[in-house]
Subunit: 251 residues, 2 copies
């Protein structure tokens, strides 16, 4: 029973999120329906990270177990054909090593958050960026983001509905840079808490407009209190860009 690792891209706008929720449209339900149409099998599409409603992905990883041993390219092309015009696409399919699991074998998740920082709202990027009118100091945001790196209790930047057992996480990458009218925030960690990236991004925007200093951001982190968080940025600008696995992933 081969397990297929699927790397997928999607526009999160039409979906209630990655995870299936009753009859609501979800990325998972769309993928599972496409697999069913392709080979007649009812599968569960396990994911490396459940993205919220409106959150996008350019490098999400999913696995499905199929009974028959299809060429990986056939799996990719057939699922894509059955997804039709839905904004979900399988970029790559590969047979996974024994014991590999999209979620449990993951060693790093990477997210990018895109802010459109100009007076005019987006036309071409509606629903795909967070529009911030006030000029942001990306260098100040980058400097402040360094204070979030490492192993911390991230309770401040965790949604109250987060179901993780522990608020302890290790943030390995947190960078902010400007490219023209865009401010790009990149984060990487073994795993994230619910809404952690959006909570950190919204708080960093306060540094960007000068409302907070880097020390204020650090104090918010140290408070370990959700009330100390700045604004939570909208789903629109968030992209799951990649997931890493051990080079020789057998678990």
């Amino acid at each position: 029973m081969p397990r297929y690792r699927l790397t997928i891209e999607y526009d999160g706008r039409p979906y209630c999120g990655y995870q299936a929720q009753g009859k609501l449209p979800s990325v998972q339900a769309s993928l599972e329906a496409a697999v069913l149409k392709f080979c007649g099998e009812t599968v569960r599409a396990h994911t490396a990270g459940r993205t919220d409603s409106g959150v996008h992905a350019t490098g999400q990883v999913v696995h499905v177990d199929l009974t028959r041993d299809w060429p990986a390219e056939t799996v990719r092309n057939a699922i894509n054909a059955h997804l039709g015009r839905q904004p979900i696409v399988v970029l790559d399919a590969a047979v996974a090593p024994a014991g590999w699991h999209a979620r449990f074998s993951a060693t790093e998740r990477r997210y990018r958050y895109i802010i459109l920082n100009r007076a005019a709202p987006p036309a071409l990027e509606q629903g795909r960026v967070w529009h911030v009118k006030a000029p942001l100091d990306a260098d100040a945001m980058h400097e402040a983001a360094r204070g979030l790196l490492g192993h911390h209790d991230f309770t401040t930047f965790r949604d109250l509905a987060c179901q993780a057992n522990s608020p302890m996480r290790t943030l390995d990458v947190a960078t902010v840079r400007r490219e023209g009218d865009h401010v790009l925030l990149d984060f990487a960690a073994r795993s994230f808490l619910h809404r952690q990236v959006r909570s950190m991004t919204g708080s960093l925007s306060w540094v960007g407009i000068g409302r907070w200093t880097a020390a204020d951001l650090k104090a918010a982190l140290d408070a370990r209190d959700r009330q100390a968080c700045g604004p939570v940025s909208p789903a629109d600008g968030l992209y799951l860009t990649g997931v890493s696995y051990e080079a020789n992933a057998s678990k």
Copy 2:
């Protein structure tokens, strides 16, 4: 009676093109309706370049004449407010010099064409790129594009419905480069013939897949015959990225 120069961005998908056509949704009609709502004036929104249906813009230039002398920022913000959620936005508004005309004063139009060159179709970029599955040799395309530079009779790359008086145009920029899965084609000229960029791009794609050599492309140009053109690429990947004017534009 001040003339306002507006730099605008739009997603071309919902529109029949820039130009108003009866009751069809158009960029022009949307802009004119927003101006009417803002200040009660019925204006004509003159453009630097009429884009076709589905063609996008990141740097289109338009002018409108208003009776009252509004601050330019007010004009920008008010039009944007009245455009609402339509994918058209005024990036910048400025009072134009005397005699300046969005179309007649323009000295250069710039277009970018974006090809998504990978096996999987686009999810996040549906309607915004041309999806080409076959691997493209961007360097070969770039080399071939050099053969199109300069002053030529572009009849081969001109739509049969083109209404320009002459097929003679001077192509000042024609470059092709790869950025990951994207192949970016940039063109600049004082003016272009109808569908010239899409005709050149489609023909260059034949060079990219090895069906044509640079010499074949040059022969197609020299044929001065629409029948010698390669495929015409779709509107999806085309963006009007900018318009230049004389530094001291009084005409």
